[in-house]
């Protein structure tokens, strides 16, 4: 199977998992999928599925916790946990919540969901790696809307001042937040200039281009002094035409008519949809 098919299969799985769990942030998950896929499936991060807390693992902090479904699906895809765990998403007694609640999920470093926490946490782990001369890097995935939280910029300042070269912030710039576009709400124009002006190295990338992402994310930064911001231009809702770039899909499942588009574009059968829905309806 080529990677385009794999990614379509992962989007399909994200959608069906959301159906079985009663909903999820599909659009954010679709926007972040290639980034997470590159980190894990293309192994630009060092990790051990069977030893999630391996001390020298690279850390991925999912600061935009609402991309949880994408993260869970990729973690399951590479072997952190099985399909049985994934299919329990958002059910009573499952470890997988609509937002990731923390260390009980293999591969998840810290509870997120409230925005603007992850980069500071990553400053802590990156500082630890610097102090202890450990050979791991810290990747923090943020949303562009999330960057409206002031605490993000507290962390941006600290990372630069502490010369945390092994800290990499990936900003998933899909241009949308819950209620409108980011530029309408925050008037933010150039992410690159903003991060650069705080003393970070900055690169821009097409956040759905696996080759470009791989080239940037596989570069080890062990001897750098400046933290790196990767401005990843993405499409919120990527992969389903009616979702793309439309803020209404921030947290929404398709209605009957819309479902046909999802099924056609993600190669989903009626049986698969029915099965997922029955899991949700059966849950007590």
């Amino acid at each position: 199977m080529n990677e385009a098919d794999i990614l379509r299969g992962l989007r399909k799985k994200i959608f069906l998992t959301a159906c079985a769990g009663g909903g999820g942030h599909l659009a954010s998950s679709f926007s972040s999928l290639e980034i997470l896929y590159t980190l894990y499936a293309r192994k630009t991060m060092n990790f051990r599925c069977n030893e999630p807390l391996w001390a020298d693992r690279d850390r991925l902090i999912l600061s935009k916790g609402h991309a949880a479904l994408a993260c869970y699906t990729v973690l399951s895809h590479v072997g952190f946990f099985g399909e049985d765990v994934l299919s329990g998403y958002a059910k009573p007694h499952s470890v997988l919540g609509g937002e990731p609640s923390g260390e009980s999920i293999p591969g998840i470093e810290t509870p997120t969901g409230s925005l603007g926490h992850g980069l500071s946490f990553g400053v802590g782990t990156a500082l630890a790696s610097k102090m202890s001369h450990a050979d791991f890097e810290t990747f923090v995935l943020l949303g562009d809307g999330e960057c409206e939280e002031g605490s993000v910029w507290e962390a941006v300042i600290a990372a630069s001042a502490l010369k945390l070269g092994r800290l990499i912030a990936i900003v998933d710039v899909n241009g949308l937040q819950k209620m409108a576009t980011v530029s309408e709400i925050a008037g933010i124009s150039s992410w690159e200039d903003k991060w650069r002006s705080f003393g970070w190295d900055v690169v821009s990338v097409d956040g759905h281009d696996l080759e470009a992402l791989t080239q940037i994310l596989s570069h080890r930064r062990s001897h750098e002094d400046k933290p790196l911001a990767i401005v990843a231009k993405t499409v919120k809702g990527k992969g389903v035409s009616i979702m793309e770039n439309n803020p209404v899909w921030h947290y929404r499942m398709p209605g009957k008519k819309e479902l046909k588009t999802f099924m056609a574009e993600l190669d989903i059968s009626q049986e698969e949809v029915d099965h997922a829905k029955s899991i949700y309806q059966c849950a007590e």
């Binding site: 509870p111 926490h117 605490s151 300042i157 600290a158």
Partner: protein, 308 residues
């Protein structure tokens, strides 16, 4: 208390290279001693309390033991959600140290006073809350916080407090300590205001109301047993705290008493539905806010008279 804190922290750092000091540009007068001895483990991360707390969480997951410190008001209020989500919820080994607890940053006014910190933090699962009343107890609190594998909040004063009662000899005093005898009434207090409570009790005793004083240096866990014993022994219990009477020590005592069919009358002395008033020295703040020994004795006396 600040000097005691740094002395204790330096001792720990000497013994364990995982101990790090993290400040949000609002340290004690003695942080330079830590910085001098352990420059590679000293971080002032700027005026950014939320970042400081979540950074501490990140450090703790890599095996470090961060003591993050700033003024109690900035720590317990501004960084509250970070304390909740990044430290308490995942039960991380982060030590949250409030300098200037209560009204001890007296002349800067209410924005700098931590007089509701016990109320909001007491609601957080997994958090141990220590409220030392003297420099000796601050030292013990630092050692105790280090022993606990999990989040700890230490609430310190910063007004040159003295060791005005004998220090516990058996580790950190989770059990309330009796610092004055009495049979009619008992004052339950915490933190450096205990000195005012002691003076108030002495005055009450000379007026014929034999008043005991108990210092509760741990707010969570809370020594309910001593409260229960006292509630059965004396007719009047008074709580004295440099804090709102809502949610802090007074509430903790009330929560214990409310489960009893019969108990002593409780009089909660603290900030009653108001922010701290005025500016000045801590002593002046106590006077203006009805929390000096005179005012405490007066409140207890008035309540006592209603009982008789």
């Amino acid at each position: 208390m600040q000097r005691a804190y740094i002395n204790a922290l330096n001792k720990l750092a000497q013994e364990d290279d995982r101990v790090v000091s993290v400040l949000a540009d609002n340290g004690t007068d003695y942080d330079w001693l830590f910085q001098r001895d352990f420059p590679e483990r000293f971080f002032n991360v700027g005026i950014a309390e939320q970042n400081m707390v979540a950074m501490g969480a990140g450090l703790s997951t890599c095996g470090y033991i961060p003591f993050v410190l700033t003024a109690g008001s900035f720590l317990a209020y501004r960084a509250y959600e970070f304390i909740r989500d990044d430290v308490c919820f995942p039960c991380r080994n982060v030590k949250l140290v409030a300098s200037g607890g209560g009204m001890s940053i007296s002349n800067l006014g209410s924005t700098h006073h931590a007089t509701e910190d016990l109320a909001n933090l007491r609601a957080l699962p997994n958090l141990t809350i220590l409220s030392p009343a003297s420099p000796a107890e601050v030292e013990a609190a630092v050692a105790e916080a280090y022993k606990i594998e999990g989040p700890v909040y230490i609430r310190m004063g910063m007004n040159g407090e003295k060791d005005f009662f004998p220090a516990s000899r058996s580790g950190y005093p989770y059990q309330a300590q009796q610092i004055a005898d009495g049979t009619d009434a008992a004052i339950i207090t915490t933190g450096s205001i205990a000195e005012q409570a002691l003076a108030a009790a002495q005055k009450l005793t000379t007026l014929g109301i034999s008043t005991a004083v108990y210092v509760f240096s741990s707010i969570k866990p809370f020594d309910s047993e001593t409260v229960l014993k006292l509630a059965a022994k004396v007719r009047l219990l008074a709580t004295v705290e440099e804090h709102s009477i809502t949610g802090g020590l007074g509430s903790a005592v009330a929560e214990v008493l409310c489960e009893l069919p019969e108990h002593a009358v409780l009089c909660r002395i603290g900030l009653a539905g108001v922010f701290s008033q005025g500016y000045g020295t801590l002593k002046q703040m106590y006077r203006m806010n009805g929390l000096d020994a005179e005012a405490i004795a007066d409140r207890v006396l008035k309540t006592w008279r209603k009982l008789s």
